[in-house]
Amino acid sequence: MNVMSARPRSAAPIRRPGLVVDGVLLLAVLAAIVLALTTDRFLTVANAKAILTSASLVGIAALGLTLITIGGSAVSLAISPSVAAVGMIFLSAQSLGLIAALVLAVLCGTLITGLQGAVVGYAAANPVVLTIAASFAITGIATGVSGGSTVSPTAGGYDRLNATPGGVALSVYVLIGLALIVEWTLRRTGFGRSLYLIGENRRAARAAGLPVGRMTAVAWLGAGALFAVTAAFTAAFNTSANVNLGGTLTFDAIAAVLAGGTPISGGRGSALRTLAGAVLIAAASDILLLRGYSTGVQIMVKGVIVLVVVVTVHLRTRGSRA
């Protein structure tokens, strides 16, 4: 039957995917809550602390990536090598004292990532290709300079980063503090507002005379500083650093940003969402670990969470436009 007359399209749910998505999401959240509540030892203070602690290092790096993503530069694929390089610098500089070493680390971190940001901002270079190149370059240089050896701390000051004021890891306080600062910067400053505008439509921002290059570079500089903080904590935690220090951080950070619901296309998202994303992934891994699932299953579920959030966010924003 080909006649299409008077057939009110039964497409109501398609035209308003928001509702369907909300339903699915609600079910998923309920299921997760039930799962969490029925997991032995999940609802303990110690476990909450553990979740926050394991979210903290990835979370801080992901906050940096959030700046990059909101500003329209998609992602950096050079997070792990940057963190490794800065971590090595941080530990070798321990003899200068903790503060000086931190300052030096943050300076180097901002420089490494900020340089990439300048190329992305001023030349409009493709951030993905650029950061692939940068990751080769950073790893190559770090290996060449260090001869591949592991850097051990030259003094003991770093250990203060492993402190646990009030029984909670320092990195958790830092994560929350930085998340608030980044969120405030994004919402309440001219820089933050420009970043959202540039991220949504770079051409329009340029034509409007916004300082696209400078703002992009600044976003990457900020990201570099945050990567450096992650590097310092990671190096201090491991008490040593080599070119592999970053591990899978690049993809973990991207996963946290995406799981928080910040779209990769830019112009939207927030630091608090990223915080939520990092905690969500950590909590899911934790539940699975407590229930005795293997690392493989934990990773798989992380992927599925990211996929579900990406699709959900996409459908919702599209829904609001239809």
């Binding site: 992602v75 270079a125 290996t143 899978t248 990769i264 293997s294 798989m300």
Partner: protein
């Protein structure tokens, strides 16, 4: 006029540079190149070629399939686990899984019109987890030594069945895309998706098809590697992905899409394989080759960067106009 498009000559240039470097290696090592060096180069090509082709095809279509390494790992693992009885079962399982993964991702991306990078990143993570769960996180051994010996036996001096299959698939892809309308349609949906749709191109089907092809090719890549190594590693790491992306970019595709050809991808893969073989023959430290990659990709980024173009144009304009001072403004201020 055509010469204004430097990206078109990139694959040729990259290949030429590496071939020259390869030929010059003896002047550095002091011993002549052997036919084995060429054989080994093609073995390296066999390792990264199919991944590059898979990733490259999606890039031509304006997508970016980060999941290729995940599919590669799953394919390799299934080959070993399902192929203990007979290699064909392993291969079939791998290819089937690759196709299914491609179908799922392609369907999602085409139907929901969702950007492929975050989707395929998520699948990549999930697939790595799946592989690890399948194998209990352990490297699995493939006990059929006949197959292992067969895929890497030397053929026609320079080749092995594995490298010939890889080269053959590049040629097949090149022929299909040059002679059929799929080639231009693939570039059309990569260049301007809306326009292609309006022109009547079956965009959705093409995207799904591309992802299926990408999944099958990466799974086959994983299969061949497992046959060759006689084992499957649950986590190949990100290095294969990054190297394949580098090879694809050297092969003349762009992340913006709409550009590229399988032969260019082959040239890019060959360039990377040659480079790796140079590193092996000349026993250059690996970090030197990393710096070399960084340089090559840096050049690509610069060639592609639009605002750098503008800056150059501006500079050229300024230089030119400073040579020819114009009439005073007062005269021409008003028409």
């Amino acid at each position: 006029m055509r010469a204004r498009r430097p990206e078109a000559s990139l694959p040729v240039a990259a290949l030429a540079v590496t071939v020259i470097a390869f030929v010059l290696v003896p002047t550095y090592t002091g011993s002549a190149l052997t036919s084995f060096d060429v054989y080994n180069m093609f073995q390296i090509l066999a390792r990264l070629g199919l991944l590059t082709l898979a990733l490259g095809l999606t890039m031509i279509a304006g997508e970016f399939d980060l999941s290729v390494v995940g599919t590669y790992a799953v394919g390799g693992m299934l080959t070993v686990q399902a192929g203990q009885q007979h290699w064909a079962w392993g291969l079939l399982a791998a290819l089937g899984a690759g196709a299914a993964i491609g179908l799922l991702q392609g369907g999602l991306i085409a139907r929901l019109k969702i950007p492929s990078m975050p989707v395929t990143l998520a699948t990549y993570i999930a697939l790595l987890g799946l592989t690890s769960a399948l194998s209990g996180g352990l490297t699995k051994t493939y006990s059929n030594a006949t197959v292992t010996l067969w895929v890497d036996q030397s053929l026609l001096t320079y080749f092995s069945p594995r490298s010939l299959i890889t080269l053959g698939l590049f040629v097949v892809a090149a022929v299909v895309l040059s002679l059929s309308r799929w080639g231009r349609e693939l570039r059309a949906i990569g260049g301007d998706r809306r326009a292609a749709r309006v022109a009547g191109v079956g965009v959705d089907r093409l995207i799904v098809g591309t992802f299926v092809a990408s999944g099958v090719l990466s799974a086959l890549g994983g299969s061949l590697l497992s046959f060759s190594l006689g084992s499957a590693n649950p986590d190949p790491g990100v290095q294969p992905l990054i190297v394949a992306a580098a090879a694809a970019l050297l092969g003349g595709v762009s992340l913006a899409g709409g550009r590229g050809h399988p032969l260019g991808l082959l040239a890019g893969s060959l360039a990377v394989a040659l480079l790796a073989e140079i590193v092996a023959v000349a026993a250059v430290p690996q970090y030197v080759s990393q710096l070399f990659f960084a340089g090559l990709l840096g050049i690509i980024v610069v060639i592609d960067a639009p605002d750098l173009h503008s800056a150059l144009v501006r500079l050229r304009t300024r230089l030119r106009s400073s040579h020819h001072p114009r009439t005073s403004i007062q005269e021409s201020a008003d028409v």
